[in-house]
């Protein structure tokens, strides 16, 4: 006979709380890149293919394959699925896949441009809530700017209509803005507008970092993207604009993430409890990393558990081999400020361990701004980095910076 323990018959938790408890588990978050196709044609995009690309469409995973993958993810304990693209709402079976996911007991995070949100879709989100804010990327505040970026006439009105359907149905969403030469003059007004649009009054997320083409499919497109990147000093000036918030964030960041990264290729959480399935059935350790040797052929193997237990952990043992990387990045104490990673190295140079000049410049500009480096100093040359980190941490704590 057992004792009756009534005090904790039931307990109410938020998904967020539960997720925190799961972060050491085999799989707690998956990204499903439903399609690389998009109804917009943004110059800066790292992945988009034309909406009418029939070859891409034919090669995409079928509805039943997505269901099988999602079922497997749920069986491993996954709580959150992020649908992204391309534009995920281009998939005609989106509603079916969405409902299937929610009925498996997983919450949904949706990244979209909002232009394909219809009244019935908003009504579905009202009836079966995604449980996470819909993340909407905005490409400009005015119609002119917006369509200069998307290169699709009518896209601005379509986005506005989508937002209106969400607001009518009281669906929670968050906005994020892309910082480009075209959107820069509108940035302050955009922040104000986005904050008014957000029911919680939260400021919008801003994307400053532009990745090159993830499929390494066009040198011309890469050159275009590189031209759209902000100069490093401007980049740093903008991210540090909200001084108090920036100092608060950086205090924690300096304490937790700065210091030499060493020779291991992976210093992030790629493949540890998270995974991303691309449109064609290749399982990636993160959404960005598409190096052919580092993806798991889920469509052929149909074994997510094996990928999480064997394949991804084996990747995490990989060591950098590039001499320049070993001399610089591996020893650089400000590498936590640098966006260089195996995925971006692959996009930029076709290898996993090549230093990326642009991100190196941004990291050094930020380190100078924080007082971690003097002009001309390099992060891999500094011997007393530990003392410098402590000093800056103290300054940020006392609010001097």
């Amino acid at each position: 006979m057992n004792n009756l323990k009534k005090d904790t018959f039931t307990q109410v938790k938020s998904f967020q709380e539960k997720l925190l408890g799961l972060k050491k588990s085999l799989l707690w978050w998956v990204t499903a890149e439903l399609t690389e196709r998009c109804n917009f044609n943004c110059r800066h995009c790292y992945i988009n293919r034309p909406a009418g690309d029939q070859l891409a469409r034919q090669q995409e995973l079928k509805t039943e394959e997505w269901k099988e993958f999602l079922q497997e993810a749920a069986s491993l304990g996954c709580l959150t699925v992020r649908f992204t693209g391309g534009e995920p709402l281009l998939r005609e079976d989106f509603e079916e896949i969405y409902q299937f996911t929610r009925r498996l007991g997983m919450r949904v995070s949706l990244s979209t441009n909002a232009s394909l949100i219809t009244s019935p879709l908003a009504a579905l989100f009202k009836k079966i809530p995604p449980l996470e804010e819909i993340e909407i990327t905005i490409y400009g505040l005015s119609e002119r700017t917006y369509e200069e970026v998307t290169r699709v006439v009518g896209s601005y009105q379509a986005m506005q209509a989508g937002l209106a359907y969400l607001r009518e149905n009281k669906i929670r969403f968050s906005l994020r803005g892309i910082v480009l030469p075209a959107t820069l003059p509108e940035l302050d007004r955009f922040k104000k507008w986005a904050q008014e649009m957000d029911a919680s009054g939260a400021p919008p997320a801003l994307v400053f970092s532009l990745d090159l083409r993830a499929r390494r499919d066009s040198e011309q497109r890469n050159q275009e993207i590189a031209r759209l990147r902000l100069p490093p000093e401007k980049y740093v000036q903008l991210i540090a604009q909200e001084r108090e918030l920036y100092n608060q964030t950086m205090k924690e960041f300096v304490h937790r993430f700065l210091g030499p990264r060493g020779t291991k290729l992976f210093t992030c959480g790629a493949g540890q409890g998270i995974a991303a399935l691309d449109s064609y059935g290749q399982l990636q350790p993160c959404l960005l990393l598409r190096h052919p040797r580092l993806v798991y052929p889920w469509r052929q193997e149909r074994n997510l558990k094996k990928a999480m237990m064997d394949f991804f952990p084996s990747l995490r043992e990989m060591e950098a081999e590039n001499d320049e990387y070993l001399k610089k990045c591996a020893r650089c104490f400000i590498s936590g400020l640098c966006e260089q990673c195996p995925a971006r190295s692959w996009m930029e140079s076709g290898t996993l361990d090549t230093p990326i000049d642009y991100y190196c410049q941004v990291a050094h500009a930020q380190a100078r701004q924080l007082g971690l480096l003097s002009p001309g100093e390099k992060g891999w040359q500094v011997k007393d980095w530990s003392r410098r980190l402590k000093k800056v941490e103290n300054l940020l704590t006392s609010g001097v910076k």
Partner: protein
């Protein structure tokens, strides 16, 4: 509304029950289930023992009788606790009455 000893209840069709890392979790699917949008509900082993008997065949009285054979608590305490749990679940619309 009070849960009735003579009535039978089943889990709502608008929820999903998942077992993750040894924990039983009730996840609302449709809006209006539970109190909060971003909430899930966990059951302890005793709560789970009650939950598993909500098959539409057992009345609440049958569930209490079955628990009397499994647990050492007094009949009065078991009845109070089971009714308390079922009322909480019913108010949150996590269970529904069957005809």
């Amino acid at each position: 509304m009070k849960v009735d000893l003579s009535k039978k209840y089943i889990p709502s069709p608008d929820i999903v029950v998942r077992h993750i890392e040894g924990e039983t979790i009730i996840i609302p699917i449709t809006a209006g289930i539970g109190d909060l949008e971003d909430a899930l509900f966990t059951l302890n082993p005793t709560g789970l023992a009650v939950w598993e008997k909500l098959d539409g065949q057992n009345s609440v009285a049958d569930i209490i009788e079955a628990l009397l054979k499994e647990y050492t608590a007094s009949p009065g305490q078991i009845e109070r606790d089971v009714l308390g749990l079922l009322e909480e679940l019913y108010q949150k619309k996590l269970i529904v009455e069957v005809d």
